[in-house]
C-alpha cells in the first residue's frame, strides 16, 4: 500500500487519472443511486399491481370452489327436507353429493339423538378414504358426533357457517392425518316449527385446497396462505404450520408485533398489504377477505424475490460502472502518460545533463502547447548552462592557479620567519619557541629573532588587514627588522627606522603593531619598544602578569613619530610570552573571545619550557574556538633567558 501511494505521488499521469476516475465515479454512482431509488419505487408499484391481480384472481377461483360447495349444500338441503321420513335415503344423498362435486371430500347428514325411531345416533356420512368413497352411518357411543363443532356450530348459530380446520379421524383410522384435515360447510336443519333437528356438513380437504393453491406464485418463493377466522393456516406451503398453527402461534413465545398486526388485519377482514417478517424472511403480504366465509386470503412475496431482478440489474450496472472506471483509468493513464512523455524525456535528459554531459542533445519538440514551450525553454537553459559551465571551468582554473601561487607565497612567507627549533642549539641559556598560524593562505602576522652583537633581537607583529596585502606589508616589516637589527640598533631606533620607511608612500594606510626587544645575553637586561602591540606576559615566580608598556602608536601610520623605548632588568629566569591578538580575541561559535583571563589561566600552569607553553596555549585556544572558523592570524613567541649558575 505504501509502495502504491509512493508510486501515485511520483506519477503525475497516475494521479491525474485517479482524480478523473474518482470524479467520474462520483457522477456515475450519484446517477445510479437516483435511478435505483426510482427503479425500486417502480418495481414496488409493479409488484403491488401484479400481486393484487393474482390475489383477486385467486380469490375468484377460491370463491368459485366455495360457492360450489354452498350450492351443493343448498341442493342437498332441499332433498333432505323432501325425504325426512326416509332416513335410509340420507345415505344415497350424502354419497351422490360427494360424487357430484369434485371439490368435496365428504358429506354428512346428521340428526339429533333419537330423531328417527330406533336410531339414537343417525349420521349418514360419505367420504373418501384414499381413493375409495365410503358411505356409512357413523354415530355410536365412541363417536358422538353431536358434540363436534361441525354439528354444534349450525345448531348454536342457527345459520350456515364454515368450521375451523379439524381432523376428522377415528381412533382405528390408519390414514395419514394430514389427508384428513378439513373444513366443513354446515347448514342447520329445522322442522316446520323451526326446531333444530340436525345438520348437513360438506367437507373440503385442506390438503387438496392447499395443493390447488400452491401454484399461485407471482414470484419464485412467493406463496399463498389462507387464514381462518381463528387465525389457523388453511392453506400454507409449510406442512408443520398448515392446520396446526395460527398466524399468532410464533408470537406466543417470541412477540412479533408486525406479524400479529398482519394477523389481526386479516382477521378483521381488512384488505391491503403490509411488509413483515414472515418466518424469518422480509416479505410483502397482500391480503383480502373471502366473503361469506370469514377467511382471509394472503399472498406472501419475499422482498428479495420482488427486487431480485432489480437487484441483479443494479449489481450488473455497478459492475459495468466499475469496469468502465477501470478502463477509464487505464485510458487516462495512457493518454496523459503519452501527453507528458516529453516531460519525462526532458527529466531523463536533465538527469544526464546534471551528471555532467552538458552538451547532450535534447529531443526536438515542435508542439505549440505548454509542453513544447517548456521543452524549448529547457533547450535555451541548456545553452546558458553550457556557457556558464565553460566560464566556471575557466574561472576555476584561474582560481586553482591563484591558489597555487598563494601556496607558494605562503611557503615564501613562512620561509621568512625562522622555523628551526631549538633556534640556538649551542646556547643552553636561551629557550625560545615560536609558531605562526595564518587565518588564510597568507597572513599579516610576523615574528623574528636572531643574535647580533651579544644580544638576542626578537620581534612579534601584526599587520592591519589580512591576505596578500598584509603579507606583503609583513614581508617588508620583517626584512626591515632584520636589516635594522643587524645594524645593532636599539629597539626604539629600529621602530623609528621601520616607521619612517613604511609610512612613506603608504597610500593604503596600512600599519603594523610590533613588539621589538633586544636582550643582552650577558647581563640579561632587555631593551624593548612596544609599538601598539599587545603587552607580553612575564611568567614570574609570582605567576603570570602583563608587562607594563608605554602606549606607543603602531608603525606605518605617522612618519617621524617619536617612539619611546623601555628597559627591563632581571629577566633571566623569567620567561616572556608574546602573542598577537589572534590569541586573546579568538572567538567560538557563541562569539565569546578567548580573553586575557583564559590566557593568564593557561600560563598559570607550571612552566615546562617555551615549546610546551606554546603547544599548551594552542590546545587551549583550539578547545575554546571549537568548530568556529579562525577569524585572525595567530602568532605566539615564548623566550626564556636562563639564569647563569653561580
Amino acid at each position: 500500500m505504501r509502495k502504491l501511494l509512493t508510486r501515485l505521488r511520483r506519477s503525475f499521469s497516475a494521479r491525474l487519472s485517479l482524480w478523473v476516475v474518482l470524479f467520474a465515479a462520483l457522477v456515475f454512482l450519484s446517477a445510479l443511486s437516483y435511478s435505483s431509488l426510482a427503479g425500486r419505487r417502480s418495481v414496488k408499484e409493479e409488484a403491488i399491481l401484479t400481486a393484487t391481480q393474482v390475489l383477486e384472481n385467486t380469490s375468484l377461483r377460491l370463491s368459485h370452489i366455495l360457492e360450489g360447495v354452498q350450492t351443493s349444500a343448498d341442493n342437498l338441503e332441499w332433498l333432505v327436507y323432501r325425504h325426512l321420513d326416509e332416513p335410509e335415503l340420507m345415505m344415497d344423498y350424502s354419497r351422490s353429493t360427494v360424487q357430484s362435486n369434485p371439490f368435496l371430500n365428504g358429506c354428512s347428514i346428521s340428526f339429533e339423538p333419537d330423531y328417527f325411531k330406533g336410531h339414537h345416533y343417525y349420521s349418514a356420512y360419505s367420504g373418501y378414504v384414499g381413493d375409495v368413497l365410503r358411505t356409512e352411518q357413523e354415530g355410536d357411543d365412541d363417536y358422538q358426533y353431536f358434540y363436534l363443532g361441525w354439528y354444534q356450530l349450525p345448531k348454536l348459530l342457527g345459520q350456515p357457517c364454515w368450521t375451523e380446520p379439524y381432523n376428522d379421524w377415528e381412533q382405528d383410522d390408519t390414514v395419514d392425518r394430514q389427508t384428513q384435515m378439513q373444513v366443513s360447510y354446515c347448514k342447520p336443519l329445522t322442522d316446520a316449527e323451526g326446531t333444530f333437528i340436525g345438520a348437513i356438513s360438506l367437507d373440503i380437504s385442506l390438503q387438496w385446497l392447499s395443493e390447488t393453491l400452491s401454484s399461485v406464485k407471482p414470484y419464485p418463493n412467493a406463496f399463498c396462505m389462507l387464514i381462518s377466522r381463528g387465525g389457523s393456516y388453511l392453506v400454507h406451503p409449510d406442512a408443520e404450520r398448515l392446520f396446526y398453527s395460527t398466524i399468532f402461534t410464533d408470537g406466543l413465545v417470541t412477540p412479533n408485533p408486525e406479524l400479529d398486526g398482519l394477523g389481526r388485519a386479516m382477521q378483521d377482514l381488512s384488505e391491503g398489504y403490509r411488509i413483515v417478517d414472515v418466518h424469518g424472511s422480509r416479505s410483502y403480504v397482500f391480503f383480502m377477505p373471502l366473503k361469506t366465509t370469514g377467511w382471509s386470503l394472503g399472498i406472501v412475496c419475499p422482498v428479495r424475490d420482488i427486487f431480485s431482478g432489480f437487484n441483479r440489474l443494479r449489481q450488473i450496472s455497478l459492475l459495468l460502472i466499475l469496469l468502465g472506471l477501470l478502463l477509464m483509468f487505464v485510458v487516462c493513464f495512457r493518454v496523459i502518460g503519452h501527453a507528458v512523455k516529453p516531460l519525462s524525456d526532458l527529466a531523463v535528459q536533465a538527469e544526464v545533463i546534471a551528471s555532467g554531459h552538458f552538451d547532450t542533445a535534447l529531443p526536438e519538440s515542435t508542439r505549440p502547447d505548454e509542453i513544447g514551450v517548456l521543452s524549448r525553454s529547457f533547450g535555451h537553459m541548456q545553452d546558458s548552462l553550457v556557457s556558464y559551465m565553460d566560464e566556471l571551468t575557466r574561472t576555476t582554473a584561474e582560481r586553482a592557479q591563484i591558489e597555487g601561487e598563494l601556496k607558494i607565497a605562503r611557503n615564501i612567507q613562512m620561509g621568512m620567519v625562522p622555523r628551526t627549533f631549538p633556534p640556538f642549539p649551542d646556547r643552553e641559556d636561551i629557550d625560545l619557541y615560536a609558531s605562526m598560524t595564518p587565518a588564510r593562505d597568507v597572513g599579516g602576522d610576523l615574528y623574528d629573532y636572531f643574535i647580533q652583537g651579544g644580544k638576542l633581537y626578537f620581534c612579534i607583529g601584526d599587520v592591519s588587514g589580512k591576505g596578500i596585502p598584509a603579507s606583503l606589508f609583513m614581508a617588508v616589516a620583517c626584512n626591515l627588522f632584520r636589516v635594522m637589527g643587524k645594524r645593532e640598533l636599539p629597539p626604539v631606533e629600529i621602530a623609528h627606522e621601520i616607521n619612517d620607511i613604511l609610512s612613506e608612500g603608504n597610500e593604503q594606510l596600512m600599519f603594523v603593531t610590533m613588539f621589538i626587544g633586544a636582550i643582552d645575553l650577558q647581563t640579561g637586561e632587555m631593551d624593548f619598544c612596544n609599538c601598539g602591540h599587545n603587552p607580553p606576559v612575564l611568567l614570574g615566580p609570582d605567576g603570570p602578569r602583563f608587562l607594563d608598556c608605554k602606549p606607543n602608536t603602531s608603525i606605518g601610520i605617522f612618519s617621524g613619530w617619536t617612539f619611546e623605548g623601555e628597559h627591563l632588568s632581571g629577566l633571566p629566569g623569567t620567561p616572556l610570552f608574546l602573542y598577537t591578538d589572534g590569541l586573546n580575541e579568538a572567538e567560538n561559535l557563541r562569539q565569546e573571545q578567548f580573553g586575557n583571563d583564559r590566557l593568564l589561566a593557561v600560563l598559570s600552569d607550571p612552566y615546562e619550557g617555551a615549546e610546551a607553553t606554546i603547544r599548551r596555549m594552542h590546545a587551549a585556544v583550539s578547545r575554546h574556538v571549537g568548530e568556529a572558523e579562525a577569524s585572525d592570524d595567530l602568532t605566539m613567541l615564548c623566550v626564556e633567558i636562563k639564569k647563569k649558575e653561580a
Binding site: D142, Y145, G149, Q152, L153, T163, R229, G230, F243
Partner: protein, 314 residues
C-alpha cells in the same frame, strides 16, 4: 346427571376390578387426548422408570367426544387421571377411590369470555364446557355466584368460541387458554377468570385407583406412583427433551397441535404442580383443598355428603 354418574360408577368399578388380577400390567387412562399435560407419564414410560419398577404400563387416551367415565367403562385400566372434584363426586356416588399420586397443586380452570368482558359478569351466557370432566368446581362456583350459565358440553369448545356460537368457554390454563390465545381473539387478560386466583383454588389432576385394588396391590400402586413422580421430576429438569417426547406422542395420536402450544402447556402444567404455600413440587393431596371442594360442591348440591380427606387416602 344421575344417568351419567351411574354409568361412570359402573364403568370405574368394572374396569378397576376386572384388571385386579394382573401383576405387572398397569393401564393408566388419561383424562384427555395426548398432550404435554401427561408429560411425566410419557417420560416415565420412555425413560424406563416404569420398567425399572417392574411395571408394564399402558397409557390410554380417550377420543375427543368421549367422557373420561365412558372410557373407563370400556377398558381394563387400573388407574385413571381424574380431577379432584370429579373423584370426590364418584366417591360420593359410592365408588371408593383412593388418590395414589397428586400432581396438580393448583386449579387450572379458567373461564374465557369471547368479547372481552369479565366472565363473572356474563349472566345467562352460553358457556362451552369440555367433556374431559374438569368443570365440576367451575359449575358449582357459577351456581354459587348465580351466573345462570347455559353450559354447552362439546368436544370443540375452542371452535365454538372462535365462531361466536358461545359467549365464553370453560377451559384449562395450560390447554384451551393457549389454544384460544393463539387465535388472536383474546387480547386482554380481563376476559379471563382464573380459579387459581379466586377463593376456590382447588387442586385438580391426580391418579386414582379403587380402594380394593389399592389394598390388593399396594406394592404395584406404590411402584407406579414412585415411577410417575420420577417421570415428572425428570420432565421438570429436562423440559426440552421432555417436549421432544411429548411431540412424538401427539404425532402418534394425530393431535392437532404444534410445538409452541405444547411448550407453553408443559411450562404451565409444571408451574401448577408447585404448592402455593411451600413453593415445592409436593405431589400430595391437601386436606384444606379437599375441604374447600366439599364446601363448594355441597353448597350447590353436587355432593350429597362430605367426602373426607381420609376417604381419599390409601
Amino acid at each position: 346427571m344421575k344417568r351419567f354418574l351411574t354409568a361412570l360408577f359402573a364403568a370405574v368399578t368394572a374396569v378397576l376390578s376386572l384388571s385386579a388380577g394382573a401383576q405387572d400390567k398397569f393401564v393408566l387412562s388419561t383424562q384427555a387426548s395426548a398432550s404435554a399435560q401427561f408429560a411425566g407419564y410419557y417420560v416415565a414410560q420412555e425413560k424406563g422408570f416404569y420398567q425399572e419398577e417392574g411395571l408394564s404400563v399402558e397409557l390410554v387416551h380417550p377420543y375427543v367426544t368421549q367422557a373420561v367415565a365412558d372410557v373407563i367403562l370400556k377398558d381394563s385400566q387400573q388407574a385413571a387421571i381424574l380431577p379432584l372434584s370429579l373423584a370426590m363426586r364418584l366417591v360420593d356416588s359410592g365408588l371408593p377411590l383412593v388418590n395414589i399420586l397428586q400432581t396438580s397443586m393448583n386449579s387450572a380452570t379458567v373461564i374465557i369470555s369471547r368479547w372481552g368482558a369479565d366472565p363473572m359478569t356474563l349472566r345467562g351466557a352460553k358457556v362451552a364446557t369440555s367433556r374431559a370432566g374438569f368443570g365440576q368446581s367451575a359449575r358449582s362456583y357459577a351456581e354459587l355466584e348465580h351466573l345462570n350459565y347455559q353450559w354447552i358440553p362439546t368436544a370443540s369448545a375452542v371452535d365454538l368460541f372462535i365462531s361466536g356460537a358461545v359467549e365464553a368457554t370453560l377451559g384449562r390454563s395450560y390447554d384451551e387458554y393457549y389454544r384460544i390465545l393463539q387465535t388472536g381473539l383474546v387480547r386482554s387478560e380481563t376476559a379471563v377468570y382464573r380459579f387459581e386466583n379466586g377463593p376456590y383454588n382447588i387442586q385438580q389432576e391426580g391418579v386414582y385407583v379403587t380402594r380394593s385394588y389399592q389394598q390388593s396391590h399396594p406394592d404395584a400402586v406404590e411402584r407406579f406412583a414412585r415411577a410417575s413422580r420420577a417421570g415428572w421430576e425428570w420432565a421438570a429438569a429436562h423440559p426440552e427433551e421432555t417436549l421432544d417426547i411429548v411431540m412424538r406422542y401427539v404425532k402418534l395420536h394425530r393431535i392437532e397441535t404444534n410445538r409452541t402450544l405444547q411448550q407453553l402447556m408443559l411450562a404451565e402444567v409444571l408451574r401448577l404442580q408447585m404448592d402455593p404455600d411451600s413453593g415445592q413440587r409436593a405431589f400430595r393431596l391437601r386436606p384444606d383443598m379437599v375441604d374447600k371442594a366439599n364446601d363448594l360442591m355441597q353448597g350447590t348440591g353436587l355432593l350429597k355428603r362430605r367426602v373426607t380427606f381420609e376417604e381419599l387416602m390409601p
